[in-house]
Symmetry: D2
Subunit: 256 residues, 4 copies
Amino acid sequence: MAEELSFPTGIGTSDPTTISLLGQDLAADLMGKVGFGELAYWLVAGRRPTPGEVRVFEAVLVALADHGFTPTAIAARLTYLSAPESLQGALAAGLLGGGSRFLGVTEDCGRFLADTLAQAGEVTDYDAVALDAVTRAKQERRLVPGLGHPVHKEQDPRTPVLIRIATEEGLHGPHLRLFEAVGRVHPQVLGRTLPLNGAGVCGAALADLGLPVEMLRGFALLARAAGLLGHLAEERRRPLGMDIYRTVDRNAVYEP
Amino acid sequence: MAEELSFPTGIGTSDPTTISLLGQDLAADLMGKVGFGELAYWLVAGRRPTPGEVRVFEAVLVALADHGFTPTAIAARLTYLSAPESLQGALAAGLLGGGSRFLGVTEDCGRFLADTLAQAGEVTDYDAVALDAVTRAKQERRLVPGLGHPVHKEQDPRTPVLIRIATEEGLHGPHLRLFEAVGRVHPQVLGRTLPLNGAGVCGAALADLGLPVEMLRGFALLARAAGLLGHLAEERRRPLGMDIYRTVDRNAVYEP
Amino acid sequence: MAEELSFPTGIGTSDPTTISLLGQDLAADLMGKVGFGELAYWLVAGRRPTPGEVRVFEAVLVALADHGFTPTAIAARLTYLSAPESLQGALAAGLLGGGSRFLGVTEDCGRFLADTLAQAGEVTDYDAVALDAVTRAKQERRLVPGLGHPVHKEQDPRTPVLIRIATEEGLHGPHLRLFEAVGRVHPQVLGRTLPLNGAGVCGAALADLGLPVEMLRGFALLARAAGLLGHLAEERRRPLGMDIYRTVDRNAVYEP
Amino acid sequence: MAEELSFPTGIGTSDPTTISLLGQDLAADLMGKVGFGELAYWLVAGRRPTPGEVRVFEAVLVALADHGFTPTAIAARLTYLSAPESLQGALAAGLLGGGSRFLGVTEDCGRFLADTLAQAGEVTDYDAVALDAVTRAKQERRLVPGLGHPVHKEQDPRTPVLIRIATEEGLHGPHLRLFEAVGRVHPQVLGRTLPLNGAGVCGAALADLGLPVEMLRGFALLARAAGLLGHLAEERRRPLGMDIYRTVDRNAVYEP
C-alpha cells in the first residue's frame, strides 16, 4: 500500500548540511550562544526565555538536582553496581523513581496552585484564596502539596532563597504569591505549622514562568539527571553500592 | 546484629536547617549563583569549572540535545502514548537508547583519543600519531569513532563551530588536535574522506575539559534528556505517537 | 552509630548451602517440580495455586504476551537498535509502555469489577449490578474498562475462550460473571454494542483467581516480557528498527 | 512522498476477528493449550519445545527467578517507594540491573561454552577441551564464567539439580558436559577449587536446549521479572523501601 506520510515537528530536523533545532540553525545560532538551561526551557515552552527567566529557571534546576542519598540515588548506584557497562540503565533506573512521592511534589504543587488560581479568577486577597483552598483540601482529606518536609521540619532553606531570586528578576507572580499565602494561613486550618518545602516552591516558581504544569515533573527529572550523574561518577571512583546491598542482604530475616 | 554503618559521599547531605551540595550551602551559595550546566560539570568533575569551560561544556550539551526523530525520540513518544501518566517512564525509555550505536559515539571517541594520547606520550606531530592510530584501527578492523555520519556525508556543521568555540576559550587541547589530525590523515589510510562528526567532536572537547572519559556518555544522556523533554512536550500538544504506531502496525506482514 | 537492622522477607533468603524461596528449598523442592507460571503466581499471591488455577493463569499470560507491533514492541526494537549491547535496556523500554492506555486495562478492569462487587455486597442479579455500574460510569463520564477494542470491533477472540477455560476449571467466579453482565447490559446505557476485550477478560479472570487487583498490571507486564523477548530475538535475526526509524525521520516536516 | 511500506514479522499480527501469534491462532490454538514458559521458549527459539525441553527450561527460570535481596530487588523496591503509581517503572528499574555483573553470568557462561565448543570441533575428551579453555582464560587474565559464588563458596545447590533434570530429560548435551569438565579441571590451573554456580549451569543448560546464546540474558531477565513481582507484591503488603533508604541516608557522612 503506497501512502503519504508526514510527521510534523517543531523540535529538530536536519539535512546534509544543516541541523535545525527549534527553527534555529543549531551550529550557527545556538552553540556557544545559548545556555543549556536556556535551551531546555525553550524546548519545552516553545519560546526563548529572557535572562531573568533563565536565572530563576536555573536556580530551580540547581535546587532540585540532588538531595543526598534519596531512593533514586540509591537505586541508580545499585543498578550501576549490577550493570556498570550501561550508564544509561543506571541513570534511567534512578529517574524511574521520579514519581508521585518524591519528585512529583514539584508538579503537584504547581498544578494545585494553577487550579486554585484558575477557579479564583482575579485575585485581590491571596490569603483568602489560600484559606479557602486549604480548607477545601482538608475537607476532602487531600494533602496540600508543598507543605512539610521529613528533614526540614521548621524551614526548608531553598524556599526563601528562590522567592528572593524570583523577586529580584521581577518574576514573583501569582503562583508564588499564593504559595506564600498558603504558608501564612494553613496553621489556622491544619492546627500546626508546616514549612513550605523546596519542591513546592520550585513548582510555584516554574508555574510563574509560564511553563506548562503538565511538564513540571520533567524539569525535576532533568535536574535530577545531573545529580544522578554526580552520584554515578562518585560511585565509579568510590563505590558504595556493594556495601549498601550487603547491608540489606546480611540483615535479611525470613518471615512469611 | 548491631553494626556501625558509614556511607561517605561528597555529593549531597542535609540536616534540618541546611542542604549541602558538593560541600557548598545549596541555598546560600549555589542557587542563583551557579548555572545548571556549570553544576552538572562540577558534580561529575568534582571541581567548579571556569567560565570558559562552562561555555564549551554548554555548547556540547546544546549540540547533543537533539537530532530530530532519532530512535530514542520515537521510543520516548511511543512510551508516552502508552503510559502518559508516567513522564519519567517515557524519558527513561528514551534515554535507554543512549547506547553504543547512537549516543555512544561521544564516549567512544573521547576514549579512543585519550587512549591514543596515553600510548603516544608527548606528542609533537599530531598527524603522525593520528596516522598510526587510524592505521592500527584499520588493521584490527575497528571503526575509528567520530568519523562519518549517515546524514551529514560531507561535513557535520557542529564540528567546526565547536572547535572555534574551544579555541576562543583557550581550550583547544590535545584531544581536539588529535581529532582534527584524524580528519586530515584518514583518507590516505581508508581510501575515502569522511566527515568528523558532531558526536565525535563533542567527545574530544569534553576530554580536553579534563572530564573522565568513562562519564562522557553521561553528558550525552543529560543533553538528550532536555531534547526528549522537548519531544514529549510537543507530543502532549500535538501527538504523533499514535500515527507512528499505526503506520508500522498497518504495514505488518506475517512472515515466519 | 551502632544499630540493629532487620529486613524481613518471605520471598528469598540464602546461606552457604541452601537457597530458600517462599519458604521452600529452591533446588530440592522447586526446580523441576514447579512450573514458571505457577511460581510467578505463588510469588505474588503468597500461596501455591491449584492445577486449575495454573491453567487459567497461564492462559491469561499467553493471551497478553503479544499483540503484534504495539507501541511497546516498537519502542523495544528501537531501543535495541540504539543500544544492542544492553538487552535489559530494550526490554525495560518496552515494559515502560505498560501503563494506563494499553496494558493498564487489565488492572483497571479487575479493579472496576472488584470495586463494584465490594459495593454491591451479595449479588443475586449480576445484570442489575452491571447496569447500575455502567450507568454510574456514564453519568460520571468515566469509561467502563474492558469495553471496546480498536481492531476487534465486533468480538475479541480471546474473551470467549478465556471464559470457557475458567469454566472448565471451576473458576468462573463473580468477576467474570459481572464482566459478562457488563457485556449484556451496556448497549442499553451506552446506545451501542462494544465487545468485551481481551485485556478486560484477563483482569476479570485474574481477580477471580484471588490475585490482588493492585498487582494485575504486574502480570500483564510479565506476559509482555515474553512477547518483547520474541520481538527482540526477531529484531536480532531480521532487524526492522532502522527501517522504522528511517520511515519516521525521512517524513519529518518542520512545523513550529 | 508516497511510499510502499512493509514490516515483516513472525511474532504477531491481528485482524478484526483473529489474533495470530507465531503463525498460530492465539485464542483457538494457544490459550489453555500452551504453558507460559513453553510460549516464551517458542517466541525466542522460533520452534515449539518438547515437554522435556519445557521441563528443563522452566527449571532454569525457577532457578533464576530470585536470589533474595539482590541489588536489582532493592532497586525495584526503592523505585516503588518513590513512584508507587507506576509498577512498570519499578519492574523496569529492577531489570536494568540485569547486566554484566549479576544476571549476565548466564549469558557469559553459555557463550564461553559455545565458543569453546565451536573452536574445538568434534569433542571426545571434554576434560582436555576444558583444561585448554581454562588455561587460555587464565593466560589472558579473563575470568571463567560460571565459576565461584560469593555466598555458595563450596557448592551451589542449583547446579547438581539442574544437571540431574537435564539428564532425566535426555538433554544433557555438550555445553553441560563441558561445564562439568570445567568444574573438574579448573583446580589444577587456578590452584583452588571453586563451585560451578547456578547462573553458569543455567547458561549451559539453555545452550544445550539450542537457544541462541545472544538471548540467554533475556531468559534470566524473564525469570527475574517474576521474582521482582514477588518483591513488589511484598513491598506493597509490608514495605521495606523506606527503612532501607533511611538506613543509608542517616549514615551518610560528608567526605569530599
